[in-house]
């Protein structure tokens, strides 16, 4: 007389393992679209790079552009500002040490994200103790190279991928 438990205990049977494995594959394949659909859709990704005309930005001025729905700061730096930025390359109080050269392609053009690395507010231009930017939310000070110098932000304003298509056009992203 067989018991029902005998059947349940035939676990090591290859057929059961093969079926279980195939079933797991099916379940995984079914779940993936449900997760991936939350990733940015194609129309959102289409706007993932922008081309910016920088010829309109005069020396000593900054402009803000929207890239991936977030602000990007582009500053046309004066010679004095560039010198100041380089001078602080090895300052002892750099919270996130980085030289100015590591953050730019052409010294007169500073191109970086305008989102404070603390909790995401937008820093104010030409304010703060370091002649750069100041974030009013929690008091982070960034210098003329966008480096965090004082305050709670943990890292410098991020520099994203960009290329000069020509002297007056930058492609961001």
């Amino acid at each position: 007389m067989t018991t029902h438990d005998d059947v349940v205990e035939e676990r090591r049977n290859f057929l059961y393992i093969a079926t279980g494995a195939a079933g797991a594959v099916a379940a995984g394949a079914a779940v993936w679209p449900l997760i991936d659909q939350m990733n940015p859709s194609k129309d959102v990704l289409a706007l993932s790079s922008i081309e910016v005309d920088i010829s309109v930005i005069a020396e000593g001025e900054s402009a803000v552009f929207l890239w991936r729905k977030n602000p990007v700061f582009i500053r046309h730096r004066t010679a004095e500002e560039i010198a100041r930025a380089i001078a602080d390359d090895n300052a002892e109080d750099l919270i996130d040490p980085q030289t100015d050269a590591e953050r730019i392609q052409k010294p007169e053009w500073l191109v970086m994200s305008g989102v404070c690395t603390h909790f995401g507010c937008i820093p104010l231009d030409q304010q703060g103790d370091f002649g750069g930017w100041f974030c009013p939310c929690h008091g982070s000070h960034y210098d003329i190279s966008g480096r965090i110098r004082k305050g709670p932000a943990p890292s410098n304003l991020p520099v994203m991928d960009y290329v000069f298509l020509d002297d007056s056009t930058i492609k961001i992203g």
Partner: protein, 278 residues
């Protein structure tokens, strides 16, 4: 159980047959379009890329004068085999007035790949006014709106068949005894045989970039294929995935069949029943 199976099967067939008949608005009061072959139909349907490119040319050079295609973005032309630079070159030909200068005035800007095909008319009223009161339908989903699927292959009318028929179905004059309203054109395949659109295609109306002779039949076939892509750009991906899914599910079902059989093996015939206990 055997009896029920046959009846169940019969019921299924009858149901499917009944589900498939039913009026098709596109061909009512008109001739039934002939069927043609398309690479996109059937289980292994694929897009005919050269035909799609020619169809795009027909659309932009002929149809776009009156027909919008609001939901198709230039970036999706990647499906037609164009690379990023080619798509940028296509997009930049179009102007969009959707930004403001510093005085708040509307200014125009060139198109980018993220933009959609612009509409030829500012709004519905402008479209109707330029077309004798009729509204040229948008192409984005038009092929799907004109198809009639049937359980019986001979009764199926694909939207492409309808477009080809329509393009080639014009007569120079209405037949004897037919009262054609002023401003309409006689067409074998449009409802009640009278359509407001003037024949849009003539031989060699377009000079194909790939050198294919541009007969009316060829242009209508190409633009129909293009419209089918525009209405259902994921068709090929869908059918390819379908093949993998169904083959996999057949394998899994076979495994489940044998699993089930093995699970029931020891009790299926009542081997575990003790007759003395009944």
């Amino acid at each position: 159980m055997k009896n029920i199976n046959i009846k169940g099967l019969l019921a299924t067939i009858v149901t499917a047959a009944l589900l498939s008949s039913g009026a098709n608005a596109a061909t009512e009061g008109a001739m039934h379009p002939e069927k043609h072959d398309y690479t996109s139909t059937g289980i292994f349907g694929k897009f005919d890329i050269p035909s799609l490119q020619r169809g795009l040319q027909v659309y932009t050079e002929v149809c776009a004068a009156c027909h919008s295609m609001d939901l198709v973005a230039f970036r999706t032309l990647e499906d037609l085999g164009y690379n990023e630079d080619e798509i940028k070159a296509i997009a930049i030909e179009y102007e969009y007035e959707d930004t403001f200068d510093d005085d708040g005035e509307l200014i125009s800007r060139p198109g980018t790949p993220a933009d959609y095909f612009p509409a030829p008319f500012a709004n519905e009223k402008a479209a109707r006014s330029a077309n004798g009161g009729s509204l040229p339908p948008d192409f984005s989903t038009l092929i799907k709106a004109r198809e009639h699927l049937s359980f019986f292959p001979w009764a199926t009318v694909y939207g492409e068949d309808y477009v080809v028929a329509l393009m080639t179905g014009y007569h120079d004059e209405a037949p004897e005894g037919f009262e054609l309203t002023e401003g309409l054109y006689y067409n074998d395949y449009f409802t009640d045989y009278a359509i407001a659109m003037a024949p849009p295609l003539f031989d060699d109306f377009v000079e194909y970039a790939d050198g294919t002779p541009a007969t009316v039949e060829q242009m209508s076939y190409d633009v129909a294929n293009f419209m089918a892509w525009a209405s259902d750009p994921t068709m090929q991906e869908r059918k390819e995935m379908g093949l993998r899914v169904i083959l996999f599910m057949i394998v899994l079902s076979i495994l489940l069949y044998f699993t089930n059989k093995r699970v029931w093996r020891k009790i299926k015939k009542g081997q575990d029943i003790d007759p003395s206990q009944l």
